[in-house]
Amino acid sequence: MTANILIFCAAGMLVTAYLMVGQKALFTTIRLYGVQSLLLGIVATTIAIAESRPELFVTAALTVTLKAILIPWFLMRTVDRIGIHREIEPFLSVPASLLVCLGLTVVGYRVSTGFQEGARGVGHHLIGVALSLLLIGLFLMVTRKKAITQILALLTVENAVFLVALGVTSGMPLIVELGISFDVILAVLVLGVLVRRIVGRFESMDVSRLSKLKG
């Protein structure tokens, strides 16, 4: 039962990442990120119950409140204020991007077999999905032009790292997790302020326009 829930949630996270790659409406992309974080929270809760590790409940609660509710809300508010709702044509078309992501997933699963816990079973799926998610996040980051999408790509990478942590270690020390969560929320706030300033100056959040500095 536990194994099924874990695999289902991990697979769900991978699906949200694929949908993010195929999506151009910013609001939907943000919601997808929220769903992804919610699934991460469920993974943490499931492990907490199955291995009776109470400190993982705190991790789960933090993940859900911060990443599934607070950060998406903040990003949506930012998008609303700016009034730009759609991603422009990415550097790579959607079908081609999806194909690349498929390749990245294969790579992620292949690397995961090197881990002690990744040789088989649930750990294999968690680590495999986490590494694929990491690669897809990096891919999103280099192919998208909108500032908000780049932030979401960064946050996806961060979710992937948390999933690796759950897959290979069943959680980092609690105080470290608290510190990391604090830093992440701070980083998102800073990014939000910076996006607003960029939009104020360039009247666009197309970061491919930020290309004056060279050499």
Partner: protein
């Protein structure tokens, strides 16, 4: 509260007071006083360590060993320099009516906050705490890069934040993997991520996970250090940030990032021997030195030029560590020390020239600055001589130590490449600095730069120059003891 905690609290309080409000002279006094006190506390903490005790706080999460003490003292020193220069920097801009209340708040708040984050990095004994501290340095510096609110500064800040966060994501993954590799041998709770514990447990770690963790962590913290090919944020950030903040980046954050790299290297060395992470550092270091050569030769901007020089120096340190010899490590740490003393002079004098000409572009500054701004120009020439590693100054000795360690070891080819690149870099910097200092003066009718005044910023630069010159001939015995202790920490078998 113990001494170590005070060392961290004072800059944080200074930041809080500076970020609030109040009259200008009060803010100036707070920043300089706060940072001077911080430097004093850093010295006292290092003195405690030299006297034989090991300052710790929060269990064992913060701990001062030789390496921490060295980085702590260097960071405290540049923090004070940057604070005093900063007062002069902002005054100059106030006179020209360029400063808004937002800028004032950000400046007096973020500079001490940045110093706090750097000191926090240098005393963390714990991989998790270290990551949090490094992220804090990133966040504290973003708005300093975006400070002037120009198109280009927003671009630089955005690129810095994206690349920096990505690097930190990698570093976090590396941390998680290192933690995973040692599971079962590390124990529970926060202490499981302590260096001391990780180094002890390293020989029993799962090799695949460990290797992957080391690679990710080195790439992640290498991004913060500005090792090629993750260096691309550096020239942009250096050009856009105000000079006092650039000094904190070029010395404080660079030292902090090298500190992180050394810690990861120590874990890897204990488990896999010095070749694995050493080889990686050697490659990245050489690449950094080589990449700096063409960009310095064709450079169009003075502050970007110094950014590439920074990339070169962090490359030299990485090569020194990567050589896998005790002399190499000692050379790298000596290099870090001398670089911390010489680089502020270069950045401060370049910053003064840039402020006088309202631009740091070489063709905007034009030639013949020696006539217009004699003090800043001569200090720039002096610092250029120092940072290119010319005798008789300190960086010459540290570079010679590294080269000698390389030629007497098994990395003769790599060392020869390093030597050739160093010669080319010397020529590049000399050519560019000569062009603006001597060179033909621009037509005075076209643009009149502000006249040079001997203010607090220039005075700070002069003091820094005196310290840097004296250090070449006389390095205080406690500082040498710290460098030796740090070498022992990195190289010595626990």
């Amino acid at each position: 509260m113990n001494l170590l905690l005070w060392t961290l609290t004072v800059p944080l309080l200074t930041a809080g007071i500076g970020g609030l409000g109040g009259p200008r002279s009060f803010k100036e006094l707070t920043m300089v006083g706060g940072l001077a006190l911080t430097f004093g506390l850093c010295l006292a903490t290092a003195g405690d360590f030299l006297a034989g005790s090991t300052p710790v706080a929060f269990g064992d999460a913060l701990r001062v060993d030789g390496l921490s003490a060295l980085v702590l003292v260097l960071c405290g020193f540049v923090g004070l320099l940057s604070g005093t220069y900063g007062v002069g920097y902002l005054r100059r801009n106030e006179r020209r009516g360029l400063v808004t209340p937002r800028m004032r708040r950000e400046f007096y708040g973020l500079i001490p906050a940045y110093v706090f984050a750097m000191l926090f990095v240098s005393v963390s004994n714990n991989l998790g705490v270290l990551w949090i501290a490094v992220e804090l340095t990133t966040l504290a510096s973003v708005f300093l890069i975006a400070f002037h609110d120009r198109d280009t500064s927003l671009e630089a800040a955005w690129k810095f934040l994206m690349l920096g966060s990505l690097g930190l994501g990698f570093a976090l993954l590396g941390t998680v993997l290192l933690f995973a590799a040692g599971q079962g041998h590390l124990g529970e709770g926060l202490a499981a991520l302590n260096w001391t514990r990780l180094v002890e447990a390293a020989p029993q770690m799962h090799p695949f996970t460990l290797r992957l963790g080391v690679v990710f962590a080195l790439i992640g913290y290498g991004t913060k250090a500005g090792l090629a090919p993750m260096h691309t944020w550096k020239p942009d950030a250096y050009r856009e940030a105000p000079s006092p903040a650039v000094v904190l980046m070029a010395v404080g954050m660079l030292n902090g990032a090298v500190y992180c790299i050394l810690r990861i290297h120590m874990i890897s060395k204990a488990a896999l021997g010095p070749e694995f992470s050493g080889g990686l550092l050697l490659t990245l270091g050489l690449l950094s030195v080589l990449i700096a050569v063409p960009f310095i030769l064709i450079q169009w901007n003075l502050k970007r030029l110094l950014a590439y020089s920074s990339i070169e120096h962090v490359g030299i340190m990485a090569v020194g560590v990567g050589l896998g010899a005790e002399a190499g490590v000692f050379g790298a740490l000596l290099h870090m020390t001398y670089h911390s003393l010489a680089k502020p002079v270069a950045l401060f004098s370049a910053g003064t020239l840039a402020q006088l000409h309202s631009s740091s572009d070489l063709d905007q500054i034009g030639g013949g600055t020696l006539g217009r701004a004699p003090v800043a120009s001569s200090l720039l020439v002096l610092s250029a001589v120092m940072i290119t590693g010319s005798p008789p100054f300190g960086l010459f000795f540290s570079e010679m130590t590294i080269l000698r360690a390389g030629f007497s070891g098994s990395h003769v080819t790599a060392t020869s490449i390093l030597l050739a690149a160093l010669v080319a870099l010397f020529c590049g910097v000399a050519y560019q600095v000569g062009r603006i200092v001597a060179g033909p003066s621009p037509d005075p009718a076209v643009k009149a730069p502000d006249p040079e005044r001997f203010d607090i910023a220039l005075a700070t630069t002069t003091v820094a120059a005196v310290v840097a010159v004296v250090s070449a001939f006389y390095l205080p015995a406690p500082l040498v003891a710290l460098i030796r202790a740090a070498t022992q920490v990195v190289w010595g078998t626990p």
